[in-house]
C-alpha cells in the first residue's frame, strides 16, 4: 500500500483543463459538483447578505423593493437547486461507487451530462437579472408568475426574467432525473460481490431512497414548469391562470407534490453522512442499522403524502389527512435521532472537525424538526405560516441540518478526494463560527414569526416591535458569512501546504472507500477486502470481532 500513494499524485498533477471538461470519472465529476455548488453557495449567500442588510433596521432603503424581491427569489432558487441538491449529488458521486466497491457509476457519460447541465441551468437562472429580473419567490406562485388575462405582468420583475428562471429550472430538472436513474442503476447493478442490500453503508441507502424520491417528484415539477411557460407565452394557455379559466391552486399542488419530497431529497443524504461520521468517530457501529434503513424508507414514502401542509391557509385542502401524516414523519425521524445518540452512548468520541459538524447537525436539526412538528398542528399553522417562523424552520432544517452535514462530509472525505487533510485548527474555528452564526441568525426569526412579521416583505415600519430581533438576525448572517470565508481560507491554505501523503484509512473508517489509496486510482481499487457486513474495512482490521458479529448475525 505504501508504494501506491505515489501514483495518485502523478495522476493529479496531470489533470489538465481539457481533462476536467471531458472527464467521465465519477471522482472528478464529484469534485466538479462540489466546486460549482460552493461557488453558487457563495453567490446565494451574498444575496442573503443583501436581504439581511436591508432588514437590519426599519424603513431601510438600501435595497429597493424590486431588487429585494429578485434577491430572495434567486437566493432560494440558488441554495436549493444550485447548492444543496448538486453538492449532495457531488458527495454521492464521489462516495457511492467507492462505498459499494464499483469502478464507476453505471452510465459515466450521462453522469458527466448531469453535471454539465447544472452550470447551464445556473447561467439561465442568473441571466434573469439581465432580463428584467424574476421576482416571484422560489415557489413561483401563480398568478403572480403567469400575469393577467391579457398577458400583462403584475408589476416589475415578472417579465422575460421569469421565462429564463423557468428554463433554468427545467434544465436542472433534467439533470436531476438523469442523475436519479444513474444512481439507482449504479446501486442496484454495480455492487461488488458480497455487497448485499443489507450490507450497504447507510449513506448509500439514503442516496437510494433520495434518488427514488427525485425520480417520482422532479418530473411533476418539470411538468408544472412547462405548464407555467405555456400559460405565460401562448395565448390560450389556461392551465394555471385563473383569469383564463385555469386553476391557481393547481400550481401549488404540483409545486408542493415535488416541493415536500424535495425537502427530504436535501435532508436524507445529510442524515446518511451523519450516519457515516458518528459511528467512525465514536468507534462503534451504527446502533440499529435495520431500523435506520426502515426509518429512511418510511420517511421516503410519507414524503409523498404531506405536500398540502404547505397549503393549510389556502382553505382548500383536506386538513386531517395532511396534518396526521406530517406529524407521523416525526416518528421515523425520532428513531434516527435515538439511533445516533445510542451510537455515541458508551463510545469513544474523537472531536475532529467532521464529528464537530455532525454534532452540530444533531443539535440544530433537532430545532428545525421540532418547530416543523408544531407546524403540523393546523390552527397554529394558520397563525405562523408565511411568517418568519417558517423562514426560521426551513433554515434550521437546511442550514442547521443539510449544510452542517455537508461540511461534516467535506471534512471527512476531503483526504480521500485530494490526499490532503483540511486544516483542523481552522476547521474548528469554522465550525464554532457557523454554530454561533446559525443560531444568532435564525433563532430570533422564530420570535419574529410569533410577533407576526410576514416573510418576503422588503421593509417594515418603525412602529412594529421587530427591529431589535432583525438586527440580531443580520449580525448572525454576517457571522455565517465570516465562517464561510474561513472555510475558503482553509481550502487555500490546505492546497498551498507541501504535500504529505495521507494513509488509506486516516479516520479508522468502516466502509470500502477507506480500503483504497487517498486519492484512489482511476479504477478505484487494486483489491477489495471480503465483504461480510456493512463494515468490511473494520472487519479486516478486527477479524476476531468480525467473526463474532457474523455468527451473532447468523443466529438472528
Amino acid at each position: 500500500m505504501t508504494t501506491a500513494t505515489l501514483a495518485p499524485v502523478a495522476v493529479r498533477t496531470r489533470t489538465s483543463w481539457l481533462e476536467w471538461l471531458t472527464t467521465t470519472d465519477h471522482k472528478k465529476i464529484g469534485q466538479l459538483y462540489l466546486v460549482s455548488s460552493l461557488v453558487f453557495f457563495v453567490i446565494g449567500g451574498i444575496q442573503a447578505l443583501g436581504i439581511r442588510s436591508q432588514l437590519a433596521a426599519p424603513d431601510m432603503t438600501l435595497v429597493d423593493p424590486e431588487t429585494y424581491n429578485e434577491f430572495f427569489t434567486i437566493h432560494g432558487t440558488t441554495m436549493i437547486f444550485l447548492f444543496a441538491m448538486p453538492i449532495l449529488s457531488g458527495l454521492a458521486n464521489f462516495v457511492v461507487p467507492l462505498q459499494i466497491g464499483a469502478i464507476d457509476m453505471a452510465f459515466p457519460r450521462i453522469n458527466a451530462l448531469s453535471f454539465w447541465l447544472v452550470p447551464v441551468g445556473g447561467l439561465l437562472i442568473y441571466s434573469s437579472y439581465a432580463a428584467g429580473g424574476a421576482a416571484i419567490g422560489w415557489t413561483g406562485y401563480v398568478p403572480l408568475s403567469t400575469g393577467g388575462a391579457g398577458g400583462q405582468n403584475f408589476g416589475p420583475g415578472l417579465g422575460t426574467g421569469v421565462d429564463l428562471w423557468i428554463m433554468g429550472l427545467t434544465v436542472l430538472g433534467f439533470s436531476s432525473i438523469l442523475g436519479a436513474i444513474n444512481f439507482l442503476a449504479t446501486i442496484f447493478r454495480m455492487r461488488a460481490p458480497g455487497m448485499r442490500m443489507f450490507r450497504l453503508p447507510i449513506f448509500v441507502w439514503t442516496v437510494l431512497v433520495t434518488q427514488s424520491l427525485a425520480l417520482f417528484a422532479i418530473p411533476v415539477f418539470t411538468t408544472a414548469l412547462v405548464l407555467l411557460f405555456i400559460d405565460r407565452n401562448f395565448t390560450g394557455g389556461a392551465f394555471l391562470n385563473p383569469a383564463n379559466g385555469g386553476s391557481a391552486i393547481l400550481w401549488q399542488h404540483m409545486f408542493w407534490f415535488f416541493g415536500h419530497p424535495e425537502v427530504y431529497i436535501m435532508i436524507l443524504p445529510a442524515m446518511g453522512i451523519i450516519s457515516e461520521v458518528v459511528p467512525v468517530f465514536s468507534r462503534k457501529p451504527l446502533f440499529g442499522y435495520h431500523a435506520f434503513v426502515g426509518a429512511t424508507i418510511a420517511i421516503g414514502l410519507l414524503a409523498f403524502g404531506v405536500w398540502a401542509h404547505h397549503m393549510f391557509a389556502t382553505g382548500l385542502v383536506y386538513l386531517p389527512f395532511f396534518s396526521f401524516l406530517t406529524g407521523a414523519i416525526g416518528v421515523p425521524t425520532g428513531i434516527k435521532f435515538f439511533n445516533w445518540l445510542a451510537t455515541m452512548w458508551r463510545g469513544k468520541l474523537r472531536f475532529s472537525t467532521p464529528m464537530l459538524f455532525a454534532i452540530g447537525f444533531l443539535a440544530f436539526f433537532l430545532i428545525g424538526g421540532l418547530d416543523g412538528a408544531l407546524l403540523a398542528a393546523v390552527p397554529f399553522d394558520y397563525d405562523v405560516t408565511d411568517t418568519y417562523w417558517v423562514v426560521s424552520h426551513l433554515h434550521y432544517v437546511l442550514f442547521g441540518g443539510t449544510v452542517f452535514a455537508v461540511f461534516a462530509g467535506i471534512y471527512y472525505w476531503f483526504p480521500k478526494m485530494y490526499g490532503r487533510f483540511l486544516d483542523e485548527r481552522i476547521g474548528k474555528w469554522h465550525w464554532l463560527l457557523t454554530a454561533i452564526g446559525v443560531n444568532v441568525a435564525f433563532f430570533p426569526q422564530h420570535l419574529l414569526g410569533l410577533e407576526g412579521m410576514p416573510r418576503r416583505i422588503a421593509t417594515y415600519s418603525a412602529d412594529t416591535p421587530w427591529a431589535p430581533l432583525n438586527l440580531l438576525s443580520t449580525i448572525g448572517a454576517f457571522t455565517i458569512a465570516l465562517s464561510v470565508l474561513l472555510f475558503v481560507v482553509n481550502v487555500v491554505v490546505t492546497f498551498r501546504r507541501p504535500l504529505e501523503p495521507v494513509p488509506d484509512d486516516p479516520w479508522d473508517g468502516n466502509t470500502l472507500e477507506w480500503a483504497t489509496t487517498s486519492p484512489p486510482p482511476p479504477h478505484n481499487f487494486d483489491r477489495l477486502p471480503p465483504i461480510r457486513s456493512s463494515r468490511p474495512v473494520f472487519d479486516e482490521k478486527y477479524p476476531e470481532l468480525a467473526e463474532r458479529a457474523a455468527s451473532a448475525g447468523a443466529a438472528r
Binding site: P65, A135, V378, G452, L545
Partner: protein
Amino acid sequence: MIALAATSLAVAACSAAYPPAGATDQGRDIHSLYSWILIPAIVIFVLVEGLLVWSVIRYRRRDDDALPPQIEGNRRLEILWTVIPAIVVLAVFGLSMETLGTVDAKSADPAVVVDVAGHQWYWDFRYEKEGIDVSGAGQRPELVLPTGRTIRFNLSSGDVIHSFYMPAFLFKRDVIPGVTNTFEITIDDPGTYAGQCAEFCGLGHADMKYAIRAVSAAEYDAWVAQQQAAPSGSPPTSPSPSAGGSAAPAGATLEVSASTPTSFEQSSLETAAGQAFTIHFTNKEAGVPHNVAIRDSAGDVLAKTEIATGPADASVSVPALGAGTYTFFCQVHPNMQGTLTVK
C-alpha cells in the same frame, strides 16, 4: 441585582416564546393549543440535547486505544422509542383537530359580514348588510368591528394571491383569485390591531397594510349609523379639485396617463422652475385605481391628485418648485414612477 436582571431577561425570553394572547375566541383557542403542544416539544428538546451534551462530555476519548463494546442494537429500546413518540404524535394530532373544529366553525347567521377584496397593493372592505365601503387605495384602511358579535369574512382577489393576516387574532387565510374563502371570528378585546398581507404579491407586498379597530357593540352601531348618514362613496380623503383641467390657474399642464399597473405611459416630464403648473392625469385602466403624486429627493410628497378608478381623470395644481429632479409616482402602485425635471 444580577439575579434580578437574569430573572427579568428569562421572563422576557419566555413571553417572547409565545404568540400574542389572541384577541378573539378563536385566537385564544390557538394560543392555548400552542401552549400545550409546546410542552412535548420542549421536553423532547431538553431530553435529546441533554443526552447529546452528556455523551460529548462523558464519552469523549481518553487515552486508551481499546475499542468500546460494539453494540449493534437493542430491540426493546428501539420499540420503546418508536411507540412513545407515536403516542405523542397522536395526542398532538387529537388536540389540534379539536381546536380546528372551533377555529374553522361557521355560524348560520353571522351578525356582521365583511367582503374583503385583495388588490395589488391595498385592501377594500364592504360591510355587506350595512352597505358601507371602506377603500384602502392609497391609504391604510381601518376596519371598525364590534366585540362580542360573530363576524364573517368573505375573501376574494381580483389579481394575484394575497393572504389576509391578523397577527393579534393568530389567524390568516389566503385570498385567491377564482375562489371565495370564508371564515368567522368573534372579537373579545377592544383595541386597534395592525394587519398586513402575508402572501408575496409583488412589488408593494410590504405596503399592503390595514388596521382593525374593535369597539363595543354600542359604539359599533353608532359608527354604522354615522357612516350611513354620510354621503355615499369613498370615505373622506383630502378634498381636491377633481375632473378636468379647468382648475389650473396658470402655467403649463403636464399630461400623465396610465393603462397598466406596471408603469405610466410617460417616463419623464419637464417643467420650468418657479412657476406653478397643473398635472392632468388620465387613468385608462378600467376598474383599477391610480393617482399621480410628486415627491422630492427627501421623499416628502409635495402634491397629489385624487385616486381615480379608471376610466377616469384627475388633476392637481402644483405650486412653484425649485430647480431640480423630482419623482412622480402612483401612491397605489409605488412601482409606477417617472422623473420630473424642473429647470
